[in-house]
């Protein structure tokens, strides 16, 4: 009666419903079946008639005993598994787990290994995020219940604890997944590096261009002095035709002075002097006459005007106002060989200009077209 009495509250209480589903979930099928089978035959033959009458009560007792045996077997099985897990973690993973570590220690160690932060009170979160592990808050509650539970319930708790490593493994898997985005980030960073290199190259090219421009600007400035800085544009006036005759004599020095005085008052910067081939080398090949031009340059210098000498190797048909033809000896050659002149489609000759066709033809008393152009220049500057 006393025995019956203490068992009754247990049966009537909530524990049975909790125990059965968890036990079923936790128990491996083969051992469970074996356990159920082995106790079954032995109680049956031992049943006495008076127990049959109280058969209900007797059946309860037997079932309780069987339940205890099954629980013991499950616990033994579970401990063996736990022991092997701890050995493996200690041996292969260098986990600093004590010999009698409980599942919370294992869980915490695995979580930390997976990159989670685990506080002593069980608070768990990733370093850069809020706490995310759902099962953790339940642990304290469960242990609180454990303090008032029967040993069989404690086994159930152990079973639950053993199950949590699966969650940890899931967390590890999640961690593995999170590595992919990191890898992608690395790739993106690499791409950015490549872009930076290209940009750097572009900068280098731009720098070279700027350098070239700078050098060009400097060279230009060096050559031109203040020229490039000012909007001031020099104005030159070309002198009239006919101021020097075909014998290279300055015709009217005083008239020229008067005109130069006008130009000076106009603030003209300089004058242009046409040096005609038909005057300088008018009569005899290689016989150069510069006297008239030299006198003219002297007068221009008196007025501090600039001079641009234009070597005119053509003729000017303004015969009415002092036109100039090609040298006389060239015209003589031309009479015998009209091809020294430019000729149009209809056969008309331009008697004022030698053709480019004789640039390399020695038809000018032993000289080529190009040579006759170069000689007077050298004479002038020497």
């Amino acid at each position: 009666m006393s025995l019956k009495h203490p068992h009754s509250p247990v049966l009537d209480g909530d524990p049975p419903p909790h125990r059965r589903p968890r036990g079923l979930v936790s128990t491996p099928p083969p051992p469970a079946v074996a356990a159920d089978t082995s106790p079954s035959p032995s109680p049956s033959p031992a049943a006495p008639p008076p127990r049959r009458r109280g058969g209900g009560g007797g059946g309860g007792e037997r079932e309780r005993e069987r339940e205890k045996e099954r629980t013991k077997l499950r616990e033994r099985h579970r401990r063996a598994i736990t022991s092997r897990m701890l050995s493996g973690l200690r041996q292969h993973g260098n986990f600093p787990l004590p010999a009698r570590a409980d599942m919370n220690d294992v869980l915490a160690a695995l979580a930390r290994a997976a990159g989670w932060t685990v506080h002593p009170d069980g608070t768990t979160f990733r370093a850069s995020s809020q706490p995310l592990h759902p099962p953790t808050p339940q642990s304290p509650g469960i242990f609180h219940v454990n303090s008032v539970e029967t040993p069989s319930f404690t086994s159930v708790l152990n079973s639950y604890a053993i199950g949590t490593p699966l969650d940890s493994q899931a967390s590890m898997l999640q961690t593995d997944d999170s590595l992919s985005p990191s890898s992608l980030d690395s790739v993106v960073v690499a791409d950015q590096s490549i872009k930076n290199e290209k940009y750097g190259n572009s900068d280098s090219v731009s720098s070279l261009n700027c350098l070239e421009n700078h050098q060009l600007t400097r060279a230009s400035a060096a050559l031109a002095g203040d020229y490039t800085r000012t909007p001031y544009i020099p104005v030159y006036a070309s002198l009239p035709m006919g101021i020097i005759n075909s014998h290279c004599q300055l015709i009217d020095p005083e008239g020229i002075r008067a005109e130069l005085m006008h130009l000076k008052s106009l603030n003209v910067d300089g004058v242009i002097v046409d040096c005609w081939w038909g005057i300088v080398e008018a009569w005899i090949p290689h016989k150069y006459e510069w006297s008239g031009y030299r006198d003219l340059f002297g007068i221009i210098k008196e007025f501090k005007l600039k001079v641009q000498a234009v070597l005119s190797f053509h003729g000017s048909g303004e015969t009415g106002s002092g036109g100039v033809s090609l040298p006389k000896w060239v015209m003589e050659i031309a009479q015998e060989n009209q091809d020294v002149f430019f000729t149009d489609r209809e056969g008309r000759r331009n008697m004022e200009c030698l053709s480019w066709g004789i640039d390399k033809e020695r038809v000018l008393r032993g000289r080529t077209g190009i040579e006759v152009l170069g000689h007077p220049w050298r004479i002038l500057i020497s």
Binding site: L216, P234, A237, S238, N267, D269
Partner: protein, 162 residues
């Protein structure tokens, strides 16, 4: 223009005073566009570029066209002009130029070319000629012809008229 760069030459082109509207349509000529193309080509190659007139002119219209071509975008109040002529040659001194109104107009023209600044003999200084640079491969010269580039912008009218 590129062919001349190695000789440090100055390009001198004509027709500076001409307006398209002044030409006979029968001639089918466009001197304004031609002048702008030639000047722009010289500036693009870094050459000194100068100009002169083709015909004798004594009127303000011609002078204003020359002024427009001399400083295509006028006087830059923030610094030196981007492009301008190295010099201008007036063709030709004559008795007609030096008489009466023509003299006065030409004097104003010279002042405008000087940007209303005082006479300055330091512009276009006298310097010895330098030797030509090494010969240029023909391919490099031909490159200048492709593509055909548009001239630099030219204002319609000068900012400093006679």
């Amino acid at each position: 223009a590129r062919m001349l760069t190695r000789h440090r030459a100055c390009v001198n082109f004509t027709c500076a005073e001409m307006r398209d509207s002044e030409q006979s349509s029968e001639a089918k000529s466009a001197p304004e566009e031609l002048v702008q193309q030639v000047l722009s080509a010289g500036w693009r190659e870094g050459l000194h570029v100068a100009c002169e007139n083709a015909l004798g002119r004594y009127d303000a219209t011609a002078y204003n066209t020359i002024l427009r071509n001399s400083r295509p975008t006028g006087i830059n109040k923030n610094g030196p002009p981007e492009h301008k002529l190295f010099g201008f040659t007036y063709l030709r001194l004559s008795d007609e130029l030096l008489e009466g109104q023509n003299y006065s107009t030409f004097k104003t023209f010279v002042k405008r070319m000087h940007a209303n600044l005082d006479y300055n003999s330091n512009v276009d200084p006298l310097e010895p000629l330098q030797r030509s640079m090494p010969e240029m491969p023909i391919g490099k010269i031909l490159q200048a012809a492709h593509p055909k580039l548009a001239p630099f912008p030219f204002d319609e009218n000068t900012d400093l008229p006679v």
